[in-house]
Every structure is written in structure tokens, then in C-alpha cells.
Amino acid sequence: MDRNDLGKLVEAALLAHGQPLNMEQLRGLFDEFERPDPDAVREALQALARDCAERPLELVEVASGWRLQVRGEYAARLSRLWQERPGRYSRALLETLALIAYRQPITRGEIENVRGVTVNPNIVRTLTERGWIRVVGHREVPGHPELLGTTREFLDYFGLRSLDELPSLAALKDMDDVGIQLEFAESVQAVAAGEPAANDAEAAG
């Protein structure tokens, strides 16, 4: 199979499957005696990615493999194809998800400790039904609470290859760093105070 043919097959496979395909799956399209080596497949993927430049598509690599997707610039217009608007998720759900993503494996109790409120069971159910989180084990403490973690679908959905690609968490500041002297604290505040209006609006919204 020549390079061009391989490229077409890879494109056909990605489009027909409608889900990410990994290297093993792509090479699995071939019988052993004719199976291209990973480099050849990768080359075909690169060529496909270049071809996409003049089309409304982009090739992205996510946790479960490569995916052809319609580029974001078309999203606003294409959303008209569906009656339903894409779901907006509540802050409670997103905060819970963030804690599970960054702190996994984590129990509900631990989530509650950080958020300061009980975790609504509906949120855990929604996240589970979405396929974004799952029970990965139990903590060996009384009650054996479930340990929650994120799934590969979670990464796929948010276009990530791995958890490393999550935006980094804000750093914790130490009270020592700021100093207890009022004058110093003041100057820090002056520098740090960015966009109070925006903060307020967000919190209010």
C-alpha cells in the first residue's frame, strides 16, 4: 500500500468510525503481512493534518487516539443544526469535576472538605452518566468511601491527551510571603488588584 493510499484509508477510518482511533486500531486495519509500521502511519496522519488546513477540519490527538473534528470557527453556525443547545454545566458540577480531575483519586468527603458544602448526589450521577468520572477504588477507612477518578472519555471530550494537559492549578500563597506588616500587604494588594469589576460581575452572574 503506497503512502497516498494509506493516507486515504486513515482518513476513511477516522471519519467512518466517528470516534478517536489509536495507533493499534489503525494498524489493526491491516493483516499482519501488510501492516504498515507506526512511523508510516504517523506520516500519513501528518500528511492528513496538513491536508486539513484547506478544509474545515482539523486532526487532533486526544487520550484515546486521533480524531478528525470540525474546527471551532464553524461551531457557532453549526450549532443551528441541533435543536438543543450544548449543555451548560453548573459551577457546582464544574468545581466537583475539577477536584476529581486534579486530586484524583478522591472521595466525596474530600471534595466536601475543599468546597465546604456537601456534594449533591445528582452531580456525581450526572458526571458518571456522562462517562467523565468513575469509581476507581475505595479508601481503606471506615465506611470504605468510593474513590473517584476521571476517565479517558473525559480527556477526549475536552480535547486533552492526558491529565498533564489540564490548565495548571493556581499556586497557593503562604501568609509568610505576604508579610504581616500592613504596609507591605498594602503594596501587594495594589499590585495584585487586577479587575475588580470583572470579578464582581462574575461572582454575581
Binding site: P86, E95, I180, L182, A197
Partner: protein, 298 residues
């Protein structure tokens, strides 16, 4: 509702709340129509009917506290605890007046704030280590920790999301078929199964099969398959010279065994004519054709 709001809310916006930090007056709280607003508004600058929604939007006591702090541009690391506590209590009171379902966590936080406030009033030690026993330390830690994940949640919400920001490209496949994969067996699975079945038949000793016998048995199947047509096959044709002496022996042994089991006939038209082999055509009651397996097994 607006009445109670008017009664309580001004406190939340009291400039008194930031009196300990007069320099804050230099900073605008907000830009409204291009005009910087440097004095805290006298009310919550929310329409009263939206108040309930607004209050319900808090994700808990930490969220509310953080809002109170951020609204005044205060640093989480150096909270004017008395003022913040007062504002917090006013919100709690407001929520109670509005009959909002008030989670126990809010009251717990109120108690914590009150405790910190009282400890702040105690004289501090002079040895310079006061930050270590700053009564606010635990609260500051929790606020910061919560804020990190509040921000992380916003970050996650901004990530490129499938079905919202991008769409999976997919097309139908013409003439799509579903391939059914067949189960796999490992050789040892079959061996274990064989060992078990033989053991169960408690006839291990009698079923003793030698290595050679296996190829003989295989060849027996092969020969029978060659005779499947029902016609005569020349004896010599059953041998493959390329298999060498051993192959010839195996085939011969197979033929003898088949003959013994009454599965084939060897016929010769006349003396010295070539031998021919065919499937056995016996009287159905041939006595030697009793169940071979049982004979061997028992």
C-alpha cells in the same frame, strides 16, 4: 422582600467595612459607563427580585466569603476578619429572612469566623512568630484551596469542548458490515480440558496414548477424508514419498488401525494387481465394530 433587603443590605456595602484599609479608596470598585466607582454602593446594586437567585448562586460558605473578600479587593492572606465576619453574618441573616434553605455549613462557618474574631482580640506574642499562630491561618488555607478549584472549574469550562466548540467529524460507511470475532483458545486450555475429561472418565491408564499414535490417528482422519468420495483409491496413492520412511510407516499404521476398526476395506481384483482401498461397507451388525472408545477405555 425588597424591604428586608433594604434593611439589611446596606451593611454589606458599608464603607465601614473597608475602613481599616483607607488606601482602598484610591481604587475603583467598578467602572460604570466609563466612570470609576470608588465608593461602595449603598446597596447590593442588584434588583431585589434577583436577590434570591443571587444568594442561591453561592456554592457554599467559602464561596460567599470569597465573594465578600474579592468584592472589596482584599487579599485573602490578610482578611480584616471583624468586618468580613460582620458582612458574612448579615448575608446569613438575609438568607434566613428570605427562608432560603440554609445549609448547616453556613452556620458552621459563622461559628468559625466568630471564633477567629475572638482570638484576634487576644494579645499577640512578641517573638515574631505571630504569623504561625495567626488565628486566620486555617481559614486562609481553606479559602485559597477553594479558590484554586473555583478557578480550575472556570478553566475547565473554557477548554475546547466537544459538541460545543468543535464537532466530531463523521460520515457513514457505504456497505458497512459487522465483523464477528470468534473466541480464542489457548492450547493449554484445551490440554487442561482433555486432562480433566480423561480423569473424570477415570480411565487414565487405559487411554494411555503414545506420541506416535497421535500422528497415526491424524493420518487415520486424513485417509478417511481421502476416501470420502466413496470410490476406490489406489493403495500406493495414500502414501507420500516426500514424507520419508517415517511418513510411510505412519500411513501404514493408520491403514492397519482403520482396517482393525473396520473403517476401511482393502481390495485386490486379482493376485498381484494393485491394492485398492475404500470405505468399509460392512453388515451393520458387524460385532467388532462395537464402540471402540469404550473397548479401549475400559
Amino acid at each position: 422582600m425588597s424591604e428586608s433587603a433594604d434593611n439589611v443590605i446596606p451593611a454589606g456595602g458599608e464603607t465601614g467595612a473597608i475602613e481599616p484599609l483607607p488606601q482602598q479608596d484610591e481604587m475603583p470598585f467598578a467602572i460604570v459607563d466609563g466612570e470609576p466607582i470608588t465608593v461602595m454602593p449603598r446597596d447590593l446594586y442588584i434588583p431585589p427580585q434577583a436577590l434570591e437567585v443571587f444568594l442561591e448562586a453561592f456554592e457554599g460558605p467559602l464561596d460567599l466569603l470569597l465573594y465578600l473578600i474579592r468584592r472589596q479587593n482584599l487579599d485573602v492572606l490578610d482578611i480584616p476578619i471583624a468586618a468580613i465576619t460582620r458582612q458574612y453574618m448579615e448575608y446569613i441573616q438575609l438568607m434566613q429572612e428570605l427562608d432560603l434553605e440554609l445549609a448547616g455549613e453556613y452556620l458552621l462557618m459563622a461559628a468559625m469566623l466568630a471564633e477567629i474574631k475572638s482570638r484576634m482580640l487576644l494579645p499577640r506574642s512578641q517573638d515574631g512568630s505571630q504569623d504561625e499562630d495567626d488565628p486566620r491561618a486555617e481559614l486562609v488555607r481553606r479559602l485559597q484551596e477553594y479558590e484554586r478549584f473555583k478557578l480550575a472549574a472556570e478553566d475547565i469550562d473554557r477548554l475546547t469542548r466537544l459538541d460545543r466548540d468543535v464537532y466530531q467529524a463523521s460520515v457513514e460507511l457505504a456497505d458497512r458490515q459487522v465483523v464477528r470475532l470468534l473466541p480464542e483458545i489457548a492450547l493449554q486450555e484445551m490440554l487442561v480440558a482433555f486432562k480433566d475429561v480423561v480423569q473424570r472418565a477415570s480411565s487414565f491408564a487405559h487411554l494411555h496414548v503414545q506420541r506416535e499414535t497421535l500422528s497415526v490417528r491424524q493420518r487415520m482422519s486424513d485417509v478417511l477424508a481421502m476416501l470420502a468420495g466413496g470410490g476406490l483409491v489406489e493403495f500406493a496413492m495414500l502414501f507420500r514419498l516426500e514424507e520419508g520412511r517415517l511418513g510411510v510407516c505412519v500411513t501404514f499404521a493408520a491403514l492397519l488401525e482403520l482396517l482393525r476398526e473396520g473403517l476401511i476395506d482393502i481390495v485386490q481384483a486379482e493376485p498381484y494387481a494393485p491394492l485398492h482401498v475404500r470405505r468399509a461397507e460392512r453388515a451393520p451388525d458387524a460385532p467388532e465394530l462395537d464402540d471402540i472408545e469404550i473397548t479401549t477405555a475400559s
